[in-house]
Amino acid sequence: MRNKHLIARIYLSFTLVLLYVPIFYLIYFSFSSGKNMNKFEHFTFAHYQTLFQDNRLLAIFLETILLALLSSLIATIIGTFGAIAISAMKKEAHKNTTLALNNVLMVSPDVIIGASFLIFFTALGIGLNFGSVLLSHIAFSIPIVVLMVLPRLNEMDYSLIDAARDLGANSWQVFSHVLIPTIMPGIFSGLFMALTYSLDDFAVTFFVTGNGFSTLSVEIYSRARQGIDLEVNALSTVMFLFVLLLVGIYYFITTKKSRRKNHRVIGGLVK
């Protein structure tokens, strides 16, 4: 038994190391004074200095974050209502069809989605800029929000809604005081997933972004094509820390929430 545990642990550590080595390799060379990643010369913050003086890149960084926040927020609102509508469907067949359509969007390759958005926008004569990217990010984030919120709705005890009505709540109060708070954890995971989806999307953005607007992933891609510059390493390091912070916040909020109410069933007899 002990042996088995040991093997499992070695396996796990090996996998994790394998996954993280490239990132740390990148971070490591962001502190090298050389021009490329062949050899670590000596320690320097020079690349960070150029990075923070590169106004174009900083603007793109901020815009990428703005795009992520805006698109995830809007997608969460639309997706949550969508999930509520799906769970309220009476006929099982309708429910399943809608869910299937939702899942098709989840699994279709980004390239296809990106290309179709491009065709769509040009056909409608919509210019390719921040707006077009925002619209497409919202669109591909909605299905994931629906998928995160729906399980919460399904396991919700509907007598909670009767209870609220019994205590005098009107439809809006039932919605805002009971329904939304009980599915909040699902909404929150949906928001977080949408945020990461938007942040790390390359393919869709690549299609629908025009001259005036670019996101970090597209920008890094076009820079990397002209030969790797260690400024990109510095940028990646900053991004990595930013994502670490996001995950930390997410973790903090979810564990705090679950400490407040460490129960499995939503509503009903809380054990």
Binding site: D157, D162, R165, G168, K261, V270
Partner: protein
């Protein structure tokens, strides 16, 4: 004074299932009522129609003389304690109890003392800041009651509220519920499938089966004079034997003729006879109305439960404070008043009318 009246209520669910068939009942204010019936008999459906969560397919609901059939649940002066409590998991005890008052936009300086008072009533002083998940089942039950009574409803509905509790706690809560009802002086409608619970707590019981009210009345009336064999079997243990009416106040069963207290039935009509196990006294064989042989015997703490058969292979259930020797022939003695005669398929209206009639006759003589 009548507070709730259901008139000709039927309920057919979307899938075509008819859960209630022509329910008529009257609830007076200030009393403790039970809806008693096996699982699936339609108890919760009646409660949901009274509360306004579900609409009857036909019929009317009256509250204080006004037709409230189409009134929204939020606007009825009725509150419910749900079967699984349905406490809001994202709110703590105080916020749960205060929910209804906050919705009604009461000022905080009114809400606070009201919540405190309600928590005191259910003996949960000092629990206001607890999370729901930190409470035991019994405590959650009390919060659910406090959350309902803080709104000062005229009628409180309780759906199988004690079923999830263990036996000890349940007994305690039965007493407490009764005490709370007395103190508040409001009407309680309590749903249960447990006949003992209904008998011990209620002023009035409605016995339900298959979406129909089988019998209504005081616990004593229902226990002593069940109108049909469903009620007789469902309420307590009983010996039910088929028999034949000889004439008024005389009935034949188990191959013997006995004096009884029932009349108003045609001579020679087939009937069923109910004798409660605790009304049977064990005596010497020659002194008994019937002679039986004891077969099994269980000691249940305060009495023995004895199963015996008579010469005609009828089984008899006897509750006795003293045990018997198994295989021994003993006599069973019962008074004419212990025999309750039921006509086959008699409705409660017919039953009541018949009793009225022959008791009237008796007075004339």
């Amino acid at each position: 004074m009548d507070i709730i009246k259901l008139k000709h209520i039927t309920k057919q669910y979307d899938d075509g299932f008819v859960a209630l068939k022509n329910i008529n009942l009257t609830i007076e204010s200030g009393k403790f009522y039970s809806l008693l019936g096996p699982s699936g008999s339609g108890k919760s459906t009646i409660l949901r129609i009274i509360a306004g969560f579900s609409q009857p397919s036909s019929g009317q609901v009256f509250f204080d003389g006004k037709d409230i059939t189409d009134l929204d649940a939020a606007k009825r002066h009725i509150n419910t304690v749900f079967q699984n409590y349905a406490l809001f998991p994202h709110l703590n005890v105080f916020e749960n109890v205060a929910f209804g008052l906050k919705i009604k936009k009461q000022p905080m300086d009114k809400i606070k003392p009201a919540v405190k008072e309600a928590l005191h009533m259910v003996r949960l002083d000092g629990y206001a800041n607890r999370e729901i998940s930190e409470l035991s089942g019994g405590q959650q039950q009390r919060v659910a009651i406090a959350r309902a009574i803080v709104n000062e409803p005229k009628v409180l509905l309780l759906d199988e509220s004690l079923s999830a509790l263990d036996k000890r706690l349940r007994k305690d809560m039965q007493f407490e519920l009764r005490a709370i009802q007395k103190k508040l002086g409001i009407t309680f409608i309590f749903v249960t499938h447990d006949q003992e619970e209904a008998l011990s707590m209620s002023d009035e019981i409605f016995v339900l089966n298959d979406g129909m009210i089988q019998q209504s009345g005081s616990p004593v009336a229902i226990y002593d004079e069940p109108v049909n064999d469903f009620v007789a079997r469902f309420i307590g243990d009983s010996n039910i034997l088929s028999g034949r009416m000889i004439k008024d106040y005389e009935v034949e069963f188990a191959n013997n003729k006995f004096k009884c207290a029932d009349g108003g039935i045609k001579p020679n009509e087939k009937v069923e006879v109910v004798i409660r196990p605790e009304d049977l006294d064990i005596v010497a064989p020659e002194k008994g109305n019937i002679v039986v042989t004891a077969q099994t015997q269980l000691f249940l703490g305060d009495h023995f439960e004895i199963k015996a058969v008579d010469a005609n292979e009828n089984e008899w259930l006897i509750h006795s404070t003293n045990g018997v020797k198994l295989g021994e022939r003993v006599g069973l003695f019962f008074d004419p008043e212990d025999i309750h005669v039921m006509r086959l398929n008699e409705s409660q209206e017919d039953f009541d009318a018949r009793i009225e009639k022959y008791e009237g006759d008796e007075n004339e003589n």
